[in-house]
């Protein structure tokens, strides 16, 4: 089902893309099934562990924008995502020297009687009050399971508030129960942005929309992107972290949209292309050398700057390749397992193979057999063609029991993960783990060098892992770890 920007909600990934959260097989098998319609069926778990919900993804994305307010229509527990905001997006804005004085996060604090009688009137009052308090440039209404189950009409409030609230009000339909795939939450937020905030272009600029997670400052990753882009004669605008409503409004004026995570950007990238003709760069993610070069070249092609890109790449190569080779020589034949979201996971399998390492297994949290353009994800297409081995592959919705079970069997030299709360379990069973929490880890030549070094160091000094593993145990029974990891999937 294609993107419909005019619709009040976007469809979930299950409905739109046929994405799934359960699978066990191999890379080539899931690849073959991806191109046959109706092959990849969702199955049920009869043992499951806490995962995440699309509300977390949706509202945590929206909260990155510096001058918006979020009115969360739900009970207080749902709004807990707000607690992480000051120390992440507040600090990022401080570090980048941007203001966040108009940001606010309020909650309608739904109680038992609200679940019976509904609470749309209170919602309206809270929206007005929130506007008066913070004067944000836009207000997002965050849906919750409770507002969804009792059928609150979020669009219904918009007309009534036009006079009192002179900024866009955009409902985000991220009711947690609606999709088992939390990445649907990214889409819900980008849908709200496309529908209510982005304006038709007035001019064309030389800006490129960069869809990324944080664009943190750990090693001036924003500066690194800018360095490449400037060589190509364009400027990056980073979304959504520390962006502004004005920047969102002008997304339609950009020369292109590119991203560091294809799972994150599918909806907005394709949506901007479909609605406003902004070219969406369909490349590998800019991680590892092959990914980075593909990313840079595909962008350069759209800009007609192929020559400049080649010069830039050659300079980078000159500076870093020998050093990378030196480190990578020590990684030959090392065995790895990867557990990540699908975009990053497949990309990292390619990077580790390029280091001469053996990918033993890839666990992804969900699986998109296609993106919103109906095409196979580029990183997957690449691996289906070039991966040296047909490694085992699972899709498991962050199910700890499943991926730790696999890890415990394979005993690789290292686990590479990206999600918070994943590495400790690996250390507990004596396997070093490296969390590539920063999305710019392994960005470009310099990042690739750093990543290779990090892998080497993690494998070389196992002191922490061994110390911990000697003294603690997993919360699973011996018996259960001997069962196949998919024993509880029906």
């Amino acid at each position: 089902m294609a993107i419909n920007v005019k619709g009040s909600q976007c469809e979930t990934r299950e409905a739109r893309l046929g994405s799934i959260t359960t699978y066990s097989g191999t890379l080539q098998d899931i690849g073959a099934q991806s191109v046959c319609s109706g092959c990849l069926d969702e199955k049920k778990r009869c043992f499951s562990q806490s995962s995440m919900c699309n509300s977390m993804c949706a509202l945590n994305q929206a909260a990155r924008i510096n001058d918006v307010a979020i009115v969360h229509h739900g009970p207080v527990g749902c709004a807990a995502t707000a607690m992480d905001v000051p120390n992440t997006w507040g600090l990022l804005a401080d570090t980048l020297g941007k203001k966040r004085d108009n940001f606010g996060w309020t909650c309608t604090d739904m109680t038992e009687s609200d679940t019976v009688f509904g609470a749309v009137d209170n919602l309206k009052e809270v929206i007005i009050e929130t506007y008066n308090r913070y004067k944000p440039k836009a207000i997002f209404i965050g849906a919750s399971c409770v507002s969804g189950v009792i059928g609150e009409d979020l669009e219904g409030v918009l007309d009534d508030l036009k006079e009192q609230v002179p900024v866009p009000i955009a409902p985000i339909h991220c009711e947690g129960f609606k999709s088992q795939i939390w990445a649907s939450g990214f889409d819900a937020t980008f849908h709200a942005i496309l529908r209510y905030i982005v304006k038709p272009p007035k001019k064309k600029t030389n800006k490129v929309n960069v869809i990324n997670f944080a664009g943190g400052t750990t090693w001036d990753s924003r500066g690194e992107v800018k360095r490449l882009f400037n060589a190509l004669g364009v400027e990056p605008t980073f979304f959504l972290a520390s962006s502004s409503v004005e920047e969102l409004e002008e997304m339609s004026e950009a020369v292109a949209t590119i991203s560091t995570c294809s799972t994150l950007s599918s909806y907005i990238g394709n949506g901007l292309e479909k609605e406003y003709g902004v070219p969406y760069i369909r490349s590998l993610q800019p991680h590892g050398i092959v990914g980075y070069e593909d990313w840079a070249r595909k962008l350069a092609k759209v800009l007609g700057k192929e020559k400049e890109a080649e010069i830039f790449i050659a300079q980078e190569k000159e500076k870093y390749q020998a050093k990378i080779d030196e480190v990578v020589a020590k990684l030959q034949g090392k065995r790895a397992m990867i557990a990540m979201g699908p975009g990053f996971g497949v990309n990292y399998s390619r990077i580790l193979q390029s280091f001469g390492m053996k990918v033993e297994h890839l666990s992804v949290w969900h699986f998109d057999k296609q993106y919103d353009d109906g095409q196979l994800p580029p990183a997957l297409a690449y691996q289906l063609e070039y991966s040296e081995n047909d490694f085992s592959f699972s899709v498991n919705d962050l199910q700890n029991f499943e991926y730790i079970n696999i890890l415990n069997r394979l005993v690789p030299d290292i686990l590479i993960s990206r999600h918070g709360g994943t590495t400790v379990w690996s250390h507990k069973i004596g396997i070093p783990a490296l969390n590539v929490f920063d999305e710019y880890t392994s960005f470009g030549y310099q990042g690739t060098l750093r990543f290779a070094q990090s892998v080497l160091y993690a494998i070389t000094n196992k002191s922490f892992t061994e110390n911990l593993a000697k003294r603690v145990k997993l919360p699973y029974k011996e018996w259960s770890l001997k069962q196949p990891f998919d024993a509880f999937i029906k």
């Binding site: 778990r45 009869c46 043992f47 499951s48 562990q49 806490s50 995962s51 919900c53 699309n54 977390m56 739900g74 009970p75 207080v76 527990g77 749902c78 709004a79 807990a80 995502t81 707000a82 607690m83 992480d84 000051p86 120390n87 992440t88 606010g104 996060w105 309020t106 909650c107 309608t108 604090d109 109680t111 609200d114 679940t115 609470a119 009052e125 809270v126 009050e129 929130t130 399971c145 409770v146 189950v149 947690g176 129960f177 609606k178 088992q180 939390w182 919705d397 962050l398 700890n400 029991f401 709360g421 400790v424 379990w425 145990k473 919360p475 699973y476 029974k477 018996w479 259960s480 509880f488």
Partner: protein, 433 residues
């Protein structure tokens, strides 16, 4: 009136899953949406369990439409097979209660299982995580401890209750320090939370001679329940003892109530105070000779920290209280009693108490009040910017406290008071003073 919660400082009743996780090898089984566990796990990271290992039904569209009882049954059944736990506690969330799943009925089918399976309705719209904490403890009392005989009372055994796991940033350390104080009095502490305290400690609860509750309000229901079920008398001491004044008072009160020889108590206090004041004596210049020290303070915190810190800064350090903001959604029935606690400082000093969960209004009031110079603000991460705007001193002591890493330290006791002073004056000395 508009019902608005601006800057959430607590979560819903389901947050009590952190109380379950605080009991070693107790396994929460969550019957709720897929994101609920991760969202309400506000303080906890990994431990024996971690967010991702908590069994959960991850309720989706199917369960909302057709009910989730079957899924719950499967997940409980398989949790018993997979998870290495001693006691399983089923916690329900909003969606499952709205769609009307009969959770007790499902849990009832496991009454003969090898490990106890209990259930607690913790729908988000029914209460806060602090209330949920009390409900979990009640469930253990009613559904487990009351069901069999665990043995005779043990002389000198004292159950300790009070800090809410993970919600109190220092909960583990605070419990350990309370245990130490009880031990110093020659009594035997028993606590069911933190550091390998688990089912054996739960089983000792009915055998205790006394229950000690160190909290202004949460847990009162539990100690009353324990008195009713097991005839155990309780002492309700509302203040977490921080620093010399309060800790000595605490030791005297507990000693008297639990029949400890008063000579022993006085000797202990003399020794501890002497030690404490050795360090205070050495540090006076830090406290009083800089340009940034505050004379007046406000807490923006849960009732336990608001009260305990106020008592420390007034009765130990000689500061004057401005308004004290209590932010964890205290049930109204406790308002009067808590207000009274803030009228019992040295020199008949009193503090005005404001119960509010509206961060915006709290900040407005603080901005409008006169602190006779730079204010000292003891609050959550939300107060950090406010404090710097007012050129004040800030210490993060209450949820959300994301900027603090607390591993095992505590503000309780004589040592805790010194630790608090270290933290506070470190922040004073980090700016021009």
């Amino acid at each position: 009136m508009t019902k608005i919660l601006d800057e959430p400082r607590y979560v819903c009743a389901l947050g009590a899953l952190q109380t379950v996780e605080a009991i070693y090898k107790a396994i929460p089984v969550v019957h709720a949406g897929p994101g609920c566990t991760a969202k309400v796990s506000i303080g906890g990271r990994s431990g024996y369990l971690g967010t991702q290992t908590v069994p959960c039904t991850n309720v989706g569209e199917t369960e909302v439409v057709f009910g989730g009882e079957e899924k719950l049954h499967d997940v409980i059944e398989n949790s018993l097979k997979v998870m290495d736990g001693d006691i399983f506690i089923v916690l329900s969330g909003c969606t499952t209660e709205i769609v009307g799943d009969d959770i007790d009925n499902v849990v009832g089918t496991f009454k003969d299982s090898e490990k106890p399976v209990l259930s607690v309705p913790t729908a988000g719209f029914k209460g806060t995580n602090i209330e949920g904490h009390e409900w979990v403890v009640d469930a253990i009392i009613d559904q487990y401890l009351s069901k069999r005989y665990f043995g005779e009372k043990i002389k000198g055994l004292v159950n300790i209750w009070g800090p809410v796991p993970s919600y109190d940033p220092h909960w583990v350390g605070n419990f350990r320090e309370l245990e130490n104080l009880i031990r110093e009095l020659g009594l035997t502490p028993n606590c069911i939370f933190g550091e390998y305290r688990g089912i054996d400690n739960i089983n000792l609860v009915p055998r205790a001679k006394y229950n000690l509750l160190v909290a202004p309000w949460v847990g009162l229901g539990n100690v009353k329940n324990l008195k009713e079920k097991f005839g155990t008398p309780y002492l309700h001491y509302p203040t977490l003892p921080i620093g010399a004044h309060e800790t000595s008072l605490f030791l005297r009160t507990v000693g008297k109530e639990f029949n400890v020889d008063s000579n022993l108590v006085e000797e202990l206090i003399t020794r501890k105070e002497k030690e404490y004041y050795y360090y205070i004596e050495r540090s006076c210049s830090f406290f009083f000779e800089n340009r940034a020290s505050s004379k007046m303070f406000s807490t923006v915190a849960s009732a336990d920290y608001a009260l305990s810190l106020s008592r420390f800064f007034v009765n130990d350090m000689g500061l004057v209280p401005s308004k004290q903001y209590i932010t964890e959604g205290v049930p109204e029935e406790h308002y009067d009693r808590i207000r009274q606690y803030f009228k019992e400082f040295n020199y008949e000093i009193e503090a005005e108490v404001v119960f509010s969960n509206d961060g915006y209004q709290i900040h407005q009031q603080i901005e409008n009040d006169d602190y006779a110079g730079t204010p000292l603000i003891l609050g959550s991460i939300y107060e950090k910017k406010l404090a710097s705007k007012l050129n004040g001193t800030f210490l993060c002591v209450s949820t959300p406290y994301a900027e603090r890493v607390v591993i095992h330290s505590s503000y309780v006791g004589y040592h805790g008071g010194l630790k608090l002073l270290e933290d506070l004056y470190t922040s004073v000395f980090q700016k021009f003073n």
